[in-house]
Amino acid sequence: MITSATGSASAPVTATIDRSQLRLFAKATGQTDPTWTDVTAAQAAGHTDLPVPPTFLFGIELQQEEPFGWLTQHGVDMSAVLHGTQSFDYVTPVFAGDTVTASSSITDVQVKKGGALTMVERRTDITRDAETVARLTSVIVVRSAA
């Protein structure tokens, strides 16, 4: 049951951020400033490599076989899931070429509206060389079958 999942941790996911992935992210989000896609332009702007856009780190932990396994293993039907809120706290900038690790755990579960909605809070620490570079918090809303 998801309602008893507080404290449940997922296996950490480690990934190296590559330039081509950042270029696809830029294309998908309509970002045309070459700072985000052209290493020469990024370096001219004072960056060591292509900078990572503000919400890109959300995808690190999705780079695994069962990205939503942390919900489905607790019996959650993915068709009943909505993204409620998303937060990022940034500690230090991340660039293409960085290898980062996402470590996630469920930090709170609240049942609302007489059981119609369950709010699942999950935190993800992103580290690089064992130093935290960003902290993410998601609240996922699970709708109960009527």
């Binding site: 989000t29 309509g30 503000p54 990205p67 990022f88 940034y90 900038p93």
Partner: protein, 139 residues
């Protein structure tokens, strides 16, 4: 950009509007690949219908990425300190999300902004806040 970064930001200053999209099915598919979120509810109409929707709809994180663009366009790629949004409505296919921000506080070199993404009919899809360093790229 340098001039913008050195601008003296004040409470009430507005960034945007940034009008994104139109969010086509191709946009949604590209964002699935670019972001790593392959949730089928956004990609496969049968999966969307099984979840009670009429059609696929855009990832909430796509609109949050548009807001991210609004912020980095104004303050630079590495100025963000925190960024939070609440997803209040879905973004349908062909939407043109309009992103705006307003400075609500400036203190110790950090500006706080309220953020909104709306559909063209005024429906808010994301509401949020961000804190950005006004020192630009230095962290």
């Amino acid at each position: 950009m340098t001039a913008l970064l050195q601008q003296a930001w004040q409470v009430g200053d507005v960034i945007g509007p940034l009008t994104a999209g139109p969010v086509s099915r191709t946009t949604i598919a590209l964002f699935a690949g670019g972001s790593g979120d392959h949730n089928e509810i956004h990609l496969d109409v049968e999966q969307a219908r099984a979840a009670g929707m009429d059609d696929v709809f855009a990832q909430g994180m796509l609109s949050m990425a548009y807001l991210g663009r609004l912020l980095t366009d104004a303050f630079g790629p590495t100025a963000l300190r925190s960024f939070t949004t609440r997803f209040t409505a879905i973004t349908p296919v062909d939407a043109r999300p309009v992103c705006t921000g307003e400075v609500t506080a400036v203190e110790d070199g950090i500006a706080t902004l309220d953020l909104t993404v709306e559909l063209s009919d005024g429906t808010p899809t994301l509401m949020g806040t961000a804190r950005v360093s006004l020192e630009g790229s230095t962290l």
